[in-house]
Structures are given as structure tokens and as C-alpha cells.
Symmetry: D2
């Protein structure tokens, strides 16, 4: 992932779907697999993820594809359970300032993917990372995923200037999530190219084999062939900007 | 508090300070006392509150002043401890979408004060309240405390239009926090009048007897005599807009 | 208007409509009449106002009602023509940084109503006023009309904290326009009360006798009876906050 | 410029400075020269540009370098004068909804560079372009230059997602201005790469030979050697994303 590669991102809905997507994204060159088992949802009545059965599916995806697994931790109670299954723990945008969760995950010795909050300044973002570092967990990967603005042509406004800014003042790697960052499938490919060109250390891309049936985030998910095309373009672009894909 | 009254808000720093402020705000007419024992702080190196000793101080404030205590719950682990001491549990802006905390507090039978997140839409705000309600806790009080915008003359932009909007589509009471909502002492009094006039069910006002020495939020804290003036003006205003103070 | 009163705001669509509304708002206590003859519209294909015939209608409204006329100046070419008919020249939000227009109007000796731009800081707002003052026109009235934010429950976010902030650092009077500031009829009355309570020197209220047929801004226009109710509430409120209505 | 190239942008301060920069950017491969003779400034007391003498200097730059000249039109009165000297007329962000200026420039038969307003939606941006088109001027070039948000690590937030969005719904070419879009010299090079990668038709780059002495926008201006480096990187990148540099 680090070095201009791309990983997929999806909500685990069934074993078959998770494995199918896993095989396809690995074939296309993904270097990690992000699947959501516990999902933080705006409404209590939305699909909340499969929970532990979802984690077991993710384990099978790793066994079958060899891809390391990233999955979201949504609370302190299930953090250790998630850590048993995952290679990397994601802390989502809504939890960027959930300081109890940051401290808890800081004490678990697994890499952490920390997403920028929807209205977080870069200073606040790095201070949240500091909560992880100050507990002794130094394997922190940041992720820009768009901020809230008045602009209505995308779901969020992807702030790519955050990448060179973070690179200048911090030693932490930073990825870009153009799927959440735009919320629109057709914007993911061009914004992925831009992310690589600006210096992002990697991409987090939502992929779904049948996005029209997705239980969450369907409109922003790429179909596997679009992901393959994205990987192809990233592989051409990365060396030009001094990265390996 | 409900009906146009005002409560104070402060971080508990010492027993003397807490009691002094408690006596002064009660004398001025406050109907509840908000004190922070566990503080969510942007930086892990900032003062994090006194913790349980702070809760014990709050208990003394209630014994001495008779004012009900509101204090913040920052994680699921300490929620029950806080509930033993508090009359009302606050969920802060940064935790508005901490769904695990919402569910936990929803299962505690104490009133909850839920603050709007810094970039939350009203729909998201009410859906977070729904997490509390759906666990069976119906005593939910909302609080508008300002949102993030480009405007730089205040710390946040207090969105008073949220009050009539929430009143129209929800049965929940809603307060205004002009202290966090402006971040500036001199704006608190006029914005408090505006909040009452727009239909707020109450105010949450930061008070400190020596704001220049405050361990957090000093620039927005009123001195006790300013709070007394505020209460006086609110008492004149409330009946004109059909409220009791 | 200054002193807590309210004025109406509308687009002139026909003589009958303009006179009807004029009589109704005067009866309700309005102290000036704002009507749009030249309209700045986002699309070149929208109704652009009646132009000079609209100005002649406004003149009749003044003759018939005795109310001074405020109307918008949209360019340097028609500024003097508009000034022949109007008692006060409005510069709209989109033109707040149209410096050529500011300089032109600064050289006309008529009061000016300057609206805050949609994403203007207070410093920029006051520097735009300075363009008028520096040309020798000292009769400048400011107007807060809402800023652009992510919030989607209102058309704009009315930033009432601008009022006490401007009052502190400037000698210029400032009004509030809750019609454009919220874009929603049912929010106009509560936000008007809030504007008076926060210290606004007046209100600018959109009124239309048949808002469902309005050629622009219908959803935010009050019907005359709602305007009368608003005036009644403002008259009760103003003296309590030290103003005359 | 169209095809992934880059142009410089500067305020004309003196003939020597303008010619020096002109020679350097041409040598580095710029395909047009943007210089400001009439400057729209937030404060009436800031340097307002050299005016017509500035236009004469720009004419000399074209004679000496062969580069076409882009310069800003700030009002209807001087539009024709500017058009006599310029090859392309710029309408700045603050004037994006100055409809009188749009109509005037729409009637001049010269290419127009229209910058997005600081809080303009894409729909509003394209409707402003429509004002030019509807007057018969079809040579309209759009320019994304950053929007206003809460983020404070850059002067504006450069919204690169606007590029693929505009490309999909409009036939108009669109450039990116990473100088105003970030306001910070060190962010200009990475954001330029991102702009090319996302599909921008060109770049508008502020260059100054002594930025520390610039009369405006110094902190965002590249020195000529940085501009040469930028051109080198763009030339490598453009063919990979299917463009010519």
C-alpha cells in the first residue's frame, strides 16, 4: 500500500461477496483488504455490519488472498476482539476525537489507520494521532477522506493539500480515500490519480461487485473492472512522481 | 433550566473554586450546575480534568447549593461511575457520533444533554438522539453549541436557526451554549438574549471566578457578576417571548 | 427602521402588487419599503426585474405610502438612474466586493445599504464599507444576511454574532435580513426576534401578498398578516432590550 | 496552455520586473503570461495596480516574449480599454457574479478566463459562464481557484473534484490556479501535479522574481527556478495522463 498502491474498502455483507471481491482486487494488484464488520452508522436503524461473523469472514479473505486485513474499531469494548482478527485497525472519521478509543487502540500493538474528522483542522488531526503515539503505538497511518463544506457536487470536499502539508510537518504516512472523499463513483479514478500525484502514500478505494445492491455506500463503490483500470493508471503514474506502485 | 433559565458551565479545578462559583450562580438564579470532571481535550498533553475526585467535588456542590449536577461522560468505561454522581449526563460535540457511548448512555436511566457536533446537520443530530431514545432513554435534551465555518470573528458560528427548526420537527427540548458557540466573553450576553428570543428552552453559560487562570476555555467564561447581569436580562426577556425564566 | 423596526423587501412585479404590499406593510408599521427593480440573478434566463418601469412603480409607492424607498443598484451604468428614484441604495451580497460599484455609489450622496457577502469575513465586510466611506459617503448601513456553510436546514446560516462584533468595532448601524438568512418563511419570525434581541438596528423582511406566485424568493416571503404579527412581537421585544420599535 | 501546460500569474509592478519574469517563464515553457494591471483589492488603501501604464507594460511583454497576455477586467468602464491590450480577459473570483461585467465582457470578442467564486457551487459557476455565452462570447475558459472552508492550513481549499465534475457536464475547458488555491508557495508544486493528474486543461501559476518584495500575493509566488522545476515535472506527468504539455 505504501508507495502509491491501492487497497479496496467495502462492508462485509456475505462470505461469498467478500471472497469474490478479495480475489478480484488482489488480481488487480491491491496490497491490503479493508472490510467493515462493525459499522458506525448515522441512524440506529441502518445496517450496522455483521459484527464478529464479519471478522471471521475477513480472516478467510486473508487466508485465501494473502492480503492483510484492515477493519474498523468502533468502541473500546470490541477493540481487542477486532485486533485478534485484523492486521490494521481503522479509526473512522466520526471517532477521530473519541479520545478513549484512541487511548485504547494506542495500547494495542497493531498498526492503526486514523481517518481525518469531517471538520478537523490538520492540527487537530495530528493531535489525535498523538493520542495513539503517546500510548506507545507508533505505527500510525493517516487518511484524508474529505471535509464538510458548502460544496454540493460531491459528498465531501477532498482536501488534497492536506497531503503535502502533513508530509512537511509530520513523519507519519498518509493515504487518501477518494471514495468517501467524493461519494461518487465517476470521481474516484481522477481523484485517485491526483492523490498519487500530490504525494499520497496510498489509496483506499471502495469496491463492490454489485454496488446497486450494497447495504452501504453503494454510489461511491467501484466495480472490480473499474478498480483494475484504476490500478493500471496508478502504476503508470507512480514512477513519474517518484513512487513505486 | 427549561423555560428560559440559565445554567453555568465550568471545568472543576478545585473544591473551593467549584463551591464559590456554585454559590454565586445559584444566587444569580441558575437552575443547574454543569461542571467538567472528565474533559475531552484536543491534545493528550492538555489538562484532562480531575476525574473521580472532580465528581466528588460536584457532589458537594449539589449538597451545598441544591443545584442538580450536569457533567460530561467521555467513555463507556466511566459512564456508570459518572452516573452515580450526576443528575444529568452530557455527551459532548466530539462524541455526538460516538455510537457506542450513545447506546451505553441510552441504557442508563438519567437525563442526557446531547451537544450538536461541529459539522453535524440537524438530521444527523436528531439521529444521534435517536440512538439514545431507541435504547429506552427518553429524557434527552439537545444543545446547539455552534458549527465550524470559515468565519473567524468567533470560535464557532452559533446556528440559532437550529432552534425553531428542531422545535418544529422534534418534541425534544433544546438549549443553547453561547459560550462555546462564540468562544468570546463579550458575545455571550447578546447571544444569550438572542437564544431566548428565538425560542431556546434554556442556556448553558460558562462561568469562572478567575477566567484568566482557567485551565480551559478561559476566554469564553463570564465572571460571576456578568452572569448575574445575564440572568437579569433573561428574566426581563423571557416573559415577552412567552417563556418563564 | 433604525431602532428595532422592520422594513419589507420584495421584488416589484406589478404596480398593483407593489402598492398593495406597500399599504399593508405601512399599516403594520414598516418604516421603509425595499423593492427590487433591477435584480441580480444567478441565471441569465431568470426574471431580471422590471428595470426603470419598476423604479417608477417604487416612486408611486413612496407617493402613496410615504415610506422611503430602498432598491438595489446592480451596476455602475444604472447607479445614477436608480439614485434618482431611491432614498437608499442597496448593494447586494454578490456585489459586496464589486469595488467599482462601491466607488461609484460612494460618490453618490444617498444612504447605502451594504449586504455582507456569502463568504465574507467581518474584516472584509467592513473594508468594503470603507470603499464607500473613503469616497465621502458616510451614510452606510450594514446588513447581515447569512453565510454559506455545510448546514442544509436553511438556505444560508444567519450569523447573528456578527451584530455585537460589528457594534463593538465599528460605528456603522447594522440590520439583519432573516428572509435571505434562512430562506424559509417559518424561520423568519423567530430569527427576527433573535436579531432584535442581539442588538440589530433593524430588520429587512421579504413580504409578498401571493408568495406562491412570486417571480423570485417566494419560499422565504411572509404574507402580510405574518408580517403584522412579526411587527407586533418586535414592538413588545424592542423596549426590553433597550430599543424603540 | 490547454493541454497540461502552465502560465504564470503576477501583478505588474514595473516594466523591468514584468519583462524579467516574462523572459524567465517563457524560457521555462509557459504558454501565456498573466499580469495584473487593474487589481481588485479587499482594502481601498492597498496597492490597486498600475492601471493603463500596466497594460502598456504587458504589451511590451508580449512583443518581447511572444506570449499571449491575460489580464483582469475589474469593471465595465475599463473593459474595452483592457481588451485593446489583452489577448484574454480574466474575470476574478470576487466578480464571478458581477452580472453587469459578465454581460459586458460577453459582448467583447476576446477569450475570457472566468474564476470560480469563493463560495460558488459548480451550478452557479456554470450559470455565470452562461452569462458570457448568452451574449455570444463562446471562448470561455473556467478556472478553479479554491473555496472558503474552515480549514486553516491553506488560504483557500482547492477543490480539485470540480475538474472531473465540470468536464462531465460542460464542454468548457477548465484550468487550476494552485497559487491562490493554497496561498502557500510550497504547496504549489504538488497541487500542480495533482491538477494535471485530475484532468485540468492547464495551470495558472503566480511567479515573482523577488516574492519577498511583492506588492501583493508574495507568499504564494514561486521564484522562477521553482517555476522551471514545476514545468519539468508537468512535462513528465502530462503524457502519462493522456495530455500534451
Amino acid at each position: 500500500m505504501i508507495g502509491g498502491g491501492a487497497s479496496n474498502e467495502m462492508t462485509v455483507e456475505s462470505e461469498k461477496q467478500a471472497l469474490d471481491v478479495g480475489r478480484e482486487v488482489r488480481a488487480a494488484g491491491a496490497t491490503l483488504y479493508r472490510g467493515g464488520a462493525f459499522k458506525p452508522r448515522t441512524s440506529p436503524y441502518s445496517f450496522q455490519g455483521l459484527g464478529e461473523p464479519g471478522l471471521r469472514i475477513l480472516k478467510k479473505v486473508r487466508e485465501e488472498t494473502g492480503l492483510p486485513i484492515v477493519t474498523e474499531v468502533i468502541d473500546t469494548d470490541t477493540a481487542e476482539l477486532v485486533a485478534e482478527y485484523a492486521d490494521c485497525l481503522q479509526i473512522g472519521a466520526r471517532n477521530m476525537q473519541n479520545f478513549a478509543l484512541l487511548k485504547k487502540v494506542g495500547r494495542i500493538r497493531k498498526p492503526v489507520l486514523l481517518k481525518r474528522g469531517m471538520s478537523a483542522t490538520i492540527e487537530e488531526f495530528l493531535l489525535s494521532a498523538e493520542y495513539l503515539l503517546s500510548e506507545g503505538n507508533y505505527e500510525v497511518i493517516l487518511c484524508e477522506r474529505g471535509v464538510r463544506t458548502f460544496a454540493n457536487h460531491t459528498r465531501n470536499t477532498l482536501d488534497l493539500s492536506a497531503i503535502p502539508y502533513v508530509k512537511r510537518i509530520s513523519h507519519l504516512p498518509i493515504l487518501v480515500d477518494p471514495s468517501h472523499g467524493t461519494g461518487k463513483r465517476l470521481k474516484v479514478l481522477p481523484m485517485s490519480r491526483a492523490a498519487v500525484a500530490v504525494g499520497s502514500d496510498g489509496l483506499l478505494i471502495e469496491v463492490h461487485d454489485h454496488p446497486e445492491d450494497a447495504l452501504s455506500d453503494g454510489p461511491q463503490a467501484l466495480m472490480p473492472d473499474m478498480f483494475a483500470q484504476l490500478m493500471k493508471e496508478v502504476r503508470l503514474l507512480a514512477p513519474v512522481v517518484g513512487r513505486t506502485a
